[in-house]
Every structure is written in structure tokens, then in C-alpha cells.
């Protein structure tokens, strides 16, 4: 039932709104609203019950294991939320002076320093609002760098064919053409093809390492060399930073610019699809182009860098300073972990992934890159199951929901047929990992015994398999008041 169907004209919550005695005679009547909007008139209890019940229709980390590859669905510590939501932080208007935000800015400055160390870069700006905006920032800086050097014939960005969809979409937003670089059967970049593609039109290469194939790109230094020789810059997509935090620094892999997804590696909540935070780090040559604002320690007093501090900056990406509250959560998380804890994240994320991979392999599940070590994630291919039974990876994913597990990432990366990208994260227990392995193996048996049953899963969720074609064809994106 929709909240609108509970609405009754005249139902108000007087304790939440001012009295109706305001003088609005200063607003011309011709500019006033004639008809009320479709916002429900319901009691406070009705609202609470409605949205509490809705929440219970969700899977979430707090209730279910979520082995979503490339998404790093780890535990979101409650302390991060509690201490980011202290009244002193929540009530501060972003337009107030730096003098009134020294406590907040100290946390931001320290977070910049922490991220600088973790990534091995020269400087960090926290302002990008999400991973995709961090990517945009990074590529925009690459463009600004070439433009500043008068190198404006560089109009191509290279991305491996396994890349996240945001990489090519971002390159386009920055006015670049996209060239795809093929991947070899063992999961590493095809260097010969890279050599043939780079040239005077290459602005840069965007790379995730460990790659989206769940393996570490072993020739990373050769890749960096080839791109740099051609005059291009190297962009690190930080989606998989959880796999190497405290072990390897992107700066040491000779990347020029990186973005981080704090909602992955630094455990800020996904919130049903945001908000994220996508800080960027740069080496010395891109430092002048960093987006504003970022925090400067000005002789013991913190202040925001503004246009005058960095005339070459690519500018401002949000009205204020990024997703401050998300950044505070990441800061609390970083302090709880500390330097030793960060290293353990990568180690145990990798341990969990390799353990799951081995358990599945031992049960006969086919790996996409069997000879390779898993990083923090790995890929299973269900191609032979599909050929044998007609049951697809998506069907198996839906059936996993029935067993209480969120599905892994399905059909990504695009170059592996019928694939699952599985990322357990470091916060899951051995017991939970084994539970998932057991469930998946059971479903593979079900698929052989009764393929039709699996094809129509799920059965225990609040709704059964939804008709997505109907949703797109008969577009219904807002409720209308029914005509009597």
C-alpha cells in the first residue's frame, strides 16, 4: 500500500508545523499556489509504521550477507554515524566562517593526510561527491594539465574493456573519445595492443588495480611506462582500493591521479544508493589543478583553499564542500582502524575471497581465471550451467535471495559470460562465507534437478520476479489520484 492511499484530508501533525497565523500579504496573490501537491496527510504514527514496514522489505548489510563484487559491502560501524551526527556538526551552516568550523576542519585536514598516505599521492581534495564525480574530477584535471601545456591535440582516453561503465561515461563528459584496450585470457591488459593504441592523441589511461576481473594487474609498471612515454597520464579508479590498502600505494604504481570511493573502502553507508564520497589524490604535476575547496593548515588555523590559492584549479564541483557528513564518518572509521587496522583490512578481505574461491572450486564451481590468485574478489562463470540447463546467472542470483543471501554482482565485467563477481569483504565471518558457499552449491544442484523452479525464483521475497519490460514500456513513475 502506498502512503498516499493512507492519506485523509484534514489529518495534520500540529506538533511538527507552525501555527497558521503567518502574514503572507507581502507575496502577490498571482504568485501563490492554487492546488495542493500530492503529499500525504497522515498521522505521525502512520508515517512511522509505513516506513518501518517498508524498511523491512529491504536486504541490508545489517540483516544479510552482501557479496557484491566491486561494491565492498562491509560492516558500517555505528560509531561513525553517531559521531558524525553530533549537534555541533549537524547544525553548522556551510556559509559560516572558517573560524566557527575549526573542529570540523581539523577532522577534514587529518582525513586528507590519511588518504594522502594510503594512496601515496602528493595532495588530496575531498570535494567530489561520489565515485563518478571523483572520476570526472580526475579526468578533468588530466585535460586541464594537457591544456595548460598547450598539448590540446590529445583527445582520447584509453580504458580496458573490463572497466566500470563510469570510466567511458566520464571520459565522454570531459569531451574525450574512448578507446578500449583488450584484456588477455589471463586477465592482464594486452600490452601489445596498448602499445599500438597509445600515441600523440592519448590523454590518459583509466585503470582499476586490482582490476574488475578480481586479479592484480601484474604488468602495471610496464603499463605506466608505455602511457607516460606517449605523454599520457595514468588514472587510478579506486573502486578496489580495499584490496591493497596498507599493502600497495597507487602512487608507487606510478599513477598520476586517483579517486577513492569512501563508501567502499572507508565503510561509509551505501544508504540504498548514496550518498557516497569520491575524494581525489594527485601527484605533484597535477596538484595545481585540484578542485576547490580543500583544507589548508595556515599556521595552526585551518581554512578552505579558494580560487586565489589555486588559479589553475578545475574549479568547484558542488555548492559547498562535498559530502561533509560522509567524510566525517570516513574519518571516524580511519581513526578506529588506524594504520595497523588498515593493513589488516586488505589482508583479511583477500583471505576471505581466496577462502571462498577455494571452497567453491573444491565443490566444482568454475572460475573465470582459475590459474590466478583472487584479490579481494573473484569471478565465477556459470556458462556451462546455462548451456546445460538453460538456467542463467541471473536466475541463480534470484534464487540466492530465497536462501537469505544478496546476489553477487551479475553480468559484470561484461567480457565474462554468465558471471558472478563475488566480494565477501573482511568483516564477514568464516561461518557466513561457508553458508553462502553451501547455498550456491545447493542452487546449482536444484538447477540441474528442476531448472524451471530456479528460473522463476525468488519465492520468499516481498514480490516475485518483476516485469522490467512492462516497467519501461508502460512508464508509471508517479502515483496519480484515482478518478472516481
Amino acid at each position: 500500500m502506498l502512503i498516499f492511499e493512507r492519506s485523509r484530508t484534514g489529518c495534520t501533525n500540529p506538533s511538527q508545523a507552525p501555527d497558521d497565523d503567518s502574514d503572507i500579504s507581502g507575496i502577490p496573490t498571482s504568485l501563490l499556489r492554487a492546488e495542493p501537491p500530492i503529499i500525504p496527510s497522515v498521522s505521525e504514527l502512520q508515517t512511522i509504521r509505513h516506513y518501518t514496514r517498508l524498511s523491512q522489505k529491504n536486504f541490508s548489510i545489517d540483516t544479510n550477507f552482501y557479496p557484491l563484487g566491486s561494491c565492498t559491502m562491509k560492516y558500517n560501524p555505528r560509531a561513525c554515524n553517531k559521531y558524525a551526527m553530533l549537534p555541533g556538526f549537524l547544525n553548522r551552516h556551510p556559509g559560516s566562517s572558517d573560524r566557527t568550523g575549526q573542529g570540523f576542519m581539523a577532522s577534514m585536514f587529518e582525513l586528507q593526510e590519511i588518504l594522502r598516505d594510503v594512496t601515496g599521492m602528493a595532495a588530496v581534495s575531498l570535494s567530489p561527491l561520489a565515485g563518478a564525480q571523483g572520476e570526472f574530477t580526475g579526468v578533468a584535471m588530466i585535460r586541464a594539465y594537457h591544456d595548460a601545456n598547450g598539448d590540446d591535440q590529445r583527445d582520447q582516453i584509453l580504458v580496458p574493456d573490463a572497466a566500470h561503465g563510469t570510466n567511458p561515461a566520464t571520459a565522454t563528459m570531459c569531451g574525450y573519445q574512448v578507446k578500449e584496450i583488450p584484456t588477455r585470457p589471463d586477465g592482464d591488459v594486452d600490452l601489445d595492443s596498448l602499445r599500438q593504441t597509445v600515441g600523440p592523441r592519448t590523454a590518459g589511461l583509466m585503470l582499476t588495480n586490482p582490476s574488475t576481473l578480481g586479479v592484480f594487474e601484474r604488468q602495471i609498471l610496464e603499463v605506466a611506462h608505455i602511457v607516460h612515454e606517449a605523454g599520457g597520464l595514468l588514472y587510478y579508479d579506486g573502486a578496489n582500493l580495499n584490496a591493497i590498502m596498507g599493502k600497495v600505494k597507487p602512487g608507487d604504481m606510478e599513477f598520476d591521479v586517483i579517486h577513492m570511493n569512501l563508501h567502499k573502502t572507508f565503510s561509509t553507508p551505501h544508504g540504498g544508493g548514496g550518498p557516497g564520497a569520491g575524494p581525489v589524490g594527485v601527484n605533484e604535476r597535477l596538484r595545481p589543478f585540484l578542485p576547490i575547496p580543500y583544507v589548508i593548515d595556515d599556521g595552526g588555523e585551518y581554512r578552505w583553499a579558494v580560487e586565489e590559492d589555486c588559479p589553475l584549479s578545475i574549479g568547484r564541483l558542488s555548492a559547498f564542500m562535498g559530502n561533509a557528513g560522509v567524510l566525517l564518518r570516513a574519518y571516524v572509521y580511519a581513526r578506529l582502524l588506524g594504520r595497523e587496522g588498515m593493513q589488516r583490512v586488505a589482508e583479511h578481505a583477500t583471505l576471505n575471497a581466496n577462502y571462498m574461491m577455494r571452497c567453491l572450486e573444491d565443490k566444482g564451481v568454475e572460475m573465470a581465471y582459475p590459474g590466478r590468485r583472487a584479490t579481494h574478489e573473484f569471478i565465477v562463470t556459470l556458462k556451462s550451467l546455462k548451456e546445460e540447463t538453460g538456467v542463467s546467472a541471473m536466475d541463480v542470483a534470484k534464487r540466492l535471495l530465497d536462501k537469505g543471501y544478496h546476489a553477487p554482482t551479475v553480468y559484470f565485467p561484461l567480457l565474462v559470460p554468465e558471471c558472478f563477481l563475488i566480494e565477501p569483504t573482511e568483516t564477514e565471518s568464516k561461518e557466513e562465507l561457508e553458508g553462502f558457499v553451501g547455498a550456491l552449491v545447493e542452487i546449482l544442484k536444484e538447477a540441474k534437478a528442476d531448472p524451471e523452479m530456479v528460473k522463476h525464483a525468488p519465492y520468499t521475497t516481498p514480490v516475485h520476479r518483476l516485469d522490467e519490460v512492462k516497467a519501461a514500456r508502460e512508464l508509471d513513475v508517479a502515483w496519480q489520484i484515482p478518478e472516481n
Partner: protein
């Protein structure tokens, strides 16, 4: 170690199963030279109790100010239930609802949000939110340019928030879009419509129309919309959502209404939090639905005929279309939409209208009290919503600094962004300000200004 559940015994069993001797062996594919040393700038880990102590001290250091600043984000009462519900683990720790059957809670809520928001704006469609207001405006500019394929000129009046204009410039710069600024009347504080009329028909892709504008003033949105449509340009409304509970919504502007509408959703139950996270909203007419970026939720049926909700029109998005997507955006501000939806439900249409009306009422009182002071003048007589500009007979920055020492955030100094307005101060009183607080502000301002005019150079002395 924090948040890692394994015992030593379990780790041993797992390593044995993998058939490696230790964890380091799992990193054997990483070339030896790349293994980094210790993280020297990262402090050692501390307990939750100790982190709590640090954060509490820092939040207290930032203090508590009586706030008269607006400028795009506003202090409003947030019902206690809003964040009690929003931070429930099932909302807070859920992923993007790609697996629809496991995400019906988030998806239905988004559908309800889309209904409320599109109706508040009187347009057909709302997406499930964007990052925040300024970048939402940039996305609207890009969407309009896509809809008007051969045109690349977009008109942004100077009465649009200067920070928004900068963000739009940063984001659309590399896509061959020409942003054309048009001036405002220095006496009225609103867009100079004759300048807009002078454009050639068919030369402009879109015109941005703010309501209220950055000065808090009400633009002649009907004429602006009609003039823009006569030029064959799309109208991009940029509005405050609270105001739309009281004012005629963009879908009803002029003869045909605005085409795309964006704005900052923060006033709908989202705390100020030093700048974010907030949410941008975007609504449009049906015919532009395939041009707008961001997630959209649709209502459909499952294979048993039950009603359900799913993400739809995903063919616009980066994970399907890659380099040909409408935008690189792949998040919305899901959790902020949860808060906004619950906020709107708790207030209802009548509550929201009363909030808007009280904001206007309080700002009226504020302007009356402030302009009663010697040396403080109304900058514009134009009708406003809940914010307006006063002119001082002395530099605003110094006065604001002295007021701040009294625990009051007095407003925004406009002298840098709008030098033509002189010593101009943008100030605002929402429903959260009491008459006592407004009087207190006026009393301090009066004292500070009169002392400064007697003894000008040193603000600190006054503050002490």
C-alpha cells in the same frame, strides 16, 4: 583488530584450505618492489570511546550559533522521527536497489518520493535524486542541450547563486556549451527581461529561471517562461522546494510551464552539516524523460500479478550505455531521499505550507527590525520568499565578524560576488528563528554599527 571477526584458529584453517602458509603469500602476484612500508601519516587505531572523546570535543569547539544565513541551504525544524527512521539499518546499510525483489522498501519509497516531488513541482516526472542543487543544475543544462541537439547556448542569469554558476561552468566546460550570463536590474534585484527578449529566436537551447532568486526575491516567472518559449528555448526552473508549498510551481509558470526543474532538496529534512550530504532534485515533462540522468523507479507487476517497483529506463545509464550514457552518474542520494520523503509525509501539504509561510513572516520581521537601525537599508522593495538583501553604510565583513563574536551568524556578505550592490548583506529567518532571537540580532547589529561608525577600525574591540 577492529571489525574483523576471525579467531587465530579460523585464520589457520582458512590458510590451510587455500593451501598457503601465511597471508603474505596471498599477495604473491604483486611485484615485489611495489609492497609499501608502514603508513606513516596514519595514526594508530584507537577505541570507540577515545574517538568519541575527540569528536565530542571538536563538535563543541564548533559551537552553536543563532543562524541567519541562507544562500541556498536553510535551517529548518526536522521532526525527530525523520532521522530515527532514516538511520534504521535496513535503509542505512542497503545497497542500490538493482536486485529489485530484495529492495522493495527503498524502491517503493523512491516511487513515493518521485510522486511527491513531481507533484510539488507540477511536472510529470521526477528522478530519484542527484548529488545536490548546483550539480543538478549542471545536469539540467546538459539534458537541455541534448534535447535541443544543434544548440549549445544556455542563458544563466546573474540572479542565480554564484556558486551554482561556478559549478555549472566546471562541469559543462568540456562539452562545448556556451553559458551566457544576463544581468539583473540593480534597483529591482530581478532579471532584466529585455535582455532576454533581445536574443534571436532559435539561438538559445535553454534559459535558467530561478524562483526565488539568489537574493531571495520573486522573479516574474510567467513572463520569463513565455519569453524563453517564444525564443524556442527550454525553461529550466531552479527552485526552493519549501517555497513551492506556497508559491505557484514551475509546471504552472506562464502559458506552458517550465520544462525541466532542479534545486536543492536540503530544506526537506536534511541537516546543514557544514555542506552535505544533501540531495539535488530533478523533474521534467514526459517528453524529456529519456534526456535526464539519474535513477528512476517505475511501478510494475511480478509474475503473480502483484504490484512491485523496479529501476527503469536504465538504458540511459552508464552501466548499460557506457560512453553514450546521459551522464556518468551512478549514485543518487538515496539516504537523503529517505529523509526528505519521511519529512514531507510528517509535515503533509498543510504543514509544509505553514513552514513556508512562517519563513516569509519571520523574514519580514527581520527586515523590519534591521532596517529600523541607522545605516541599514532595504536593498530591494521587490517581494521576497524567506530571504532578502539589506545594504549597510559600512563594510559587511567587519560587521559580520563582530556579530559572530556575539554567537550570531548574520548572513552572507555579497560585496565580492556583487560589487555593484555595495555593502550588501543577504539575510534570512526561517521558521526556526524566534522573535526574541531576531530582536537580539537587531540589538547587537545596532550597537556594533553605531560604535563602529564612532570608532571605525577595530572590530575585535567591539566583539570583546
Amino acid at each position: 583488530m577492529p571489525f574483523i571477526p576471525h579467531t587465530e584458529e579460523e585464520i589457520r584453517q582458512m590458510l590451510d584450505a587455500i593451501r598457503v602458509s601465511d597471508i603474505d603469500e596471498l599477495f604473491s602476484e604483486i611485484p615485489g618492489g611495489l609492497h609499501s612500508g608502514k603508513l606513516t601519516s596514519v595514526p594508530s587505531g584507537i577505541s570507540e570511546m577515545d574517538v568519541g572523546r575527540i569528536m565530542l570535543a571538536r563538535s563543541r569547539q564548533d559551537g552553536h550559533y543563532i543562524n541567519f544565513i541562507g544562500g541556498g541551504v536553510y535551517e529548518h525544524h526536522i521532526p525527530a522521527a525523520v532521522w530515527e527512521l532514516t538511520t534504521r539499518g535496513e535503509f542505512y546499510t542497503a545497497y542500490t536497489p538493482y536486485q529489485a525483489e530484495a529492495s522493495q522498501g527503498t524502491l517503493q519509497l523512491l516511487y513515493e518520493y518521485q510522486t511527491m516531488m513531481s507533484s510539488l513541482m507540477a511536472l510529470d516526472v521526477s528522478n530519484a535524486s542527484l548529488y545536490e542543487g548546483a550539480s543538478a543544475l549542471a545536469e539540467a543544462v546538459l539534458a537541455a542541450a541534448r534535447a535541443r541537439k544543434k544548440l549549445n547556448k544556455v542563458v544563466i542569469p546573474r540572479t542565480v547563486n554564484p556558486r551554482y554558476r561556478k559549478v555549472v561552468e566546471s562541469i559543462v566546460r568540456n562539452q562545448r556549451i556556451e553559458l551566457v550570463e544576463i544581468p539583473f536590474s540593480v534597483t529591482e534585484g530581478t532579471i532584466d527581461i529585455d535582455v532576454l527578449r533581445a536574443f534571436d529566436k532559435g539561438s538559445v537551447a535553454a534559459v535558467v529561471v530561478p524562483q526565488p532568486n539568489y537574493f531571495g526575491l520573486l522573479e516574474d516567472v510567467d513572463t520569463l517562461t513565455d519569453v524563453a518559449h517564444e525564443l524556442d528555448a527550454l525553461v529550466i526552473g531552479l527552485v526552493n522546494p519549501t517555497a513551492m508549498a506556497l508559491l505557484r510551481p514551475p509546471g504552472r509558470w506562464g502559458a506552458d510551464g517550465a520544462d525541466i526543474v532542479v534545486g536543492e532538496g536540503q530544506p526537506l529534512g536534511i541537516p546543514l552539516s557544514s555542506g552535505g550530504p544533501y540531495m539535488g532534485f530533478m523533474c521534467c515533462r514526459n517528453k524529456y524523460v529519456r534526456q535526464i540522468p539519474g535513477r528512476i523507479v517505475g511501478r510494475t507487476r511480478d509474475d503473480k500479478g502483484n504490484e512491485g517497483f523496479t529501476l527503469t529506463l536504465q538504458a540511459r545509464e552508464q552501466h548499460i550505455r557506457r560512453s553514450k550514457a546521459t551522464s556518468n552518474i551512478c549514485t543518487n542520494q538515496g539516504l537523503m531521499v529517505v529523509a526528505a520523503t519521511i519529512y514531507m509525509s510528517l509535515l503533509g501539504p498543510e504543514g509544509l505550507r505553514r513552514v513556508a509561510a512562517r519563513c516569509h513572516h519571520n523574514t519580514n520581521i527581520l527586515l523590519a527590525k534591521l532596517t529600523a537601525i541607522d545605516g541599514v537599508y532595504r536593498c530591494f522593495e521587490t517581494p521576497f520568499f524567506h530571504e532578502s538583501v539589506v545594504r549597510l553604510d559600512q563594510p559587511v565583513a567587519d560587521v559580520l565578524r563582530a556579530i559572530e563574536a556575539q554567537g550570531i551568524n548574520g548572513g552572507i556578505d555579497l560585496s565580492e560576488d556583487y560589487p555593484e550592490l555595495g555593502n550588501a548583506l543577504l539575510t534570512c529567518a526561517t521558521e526556526t528563528r524566534t522573535v526574541d532571537e531576531i530582536e537580539n540580532y537587531a540589538t547587537h547589529l545596532d550597537r556594533i554599527m553605531s560604535r563602529r561608525s564612532l570608532d571605525p577600525p577595530c572590530a575585535e574591540k567591539v566583539a570583546g
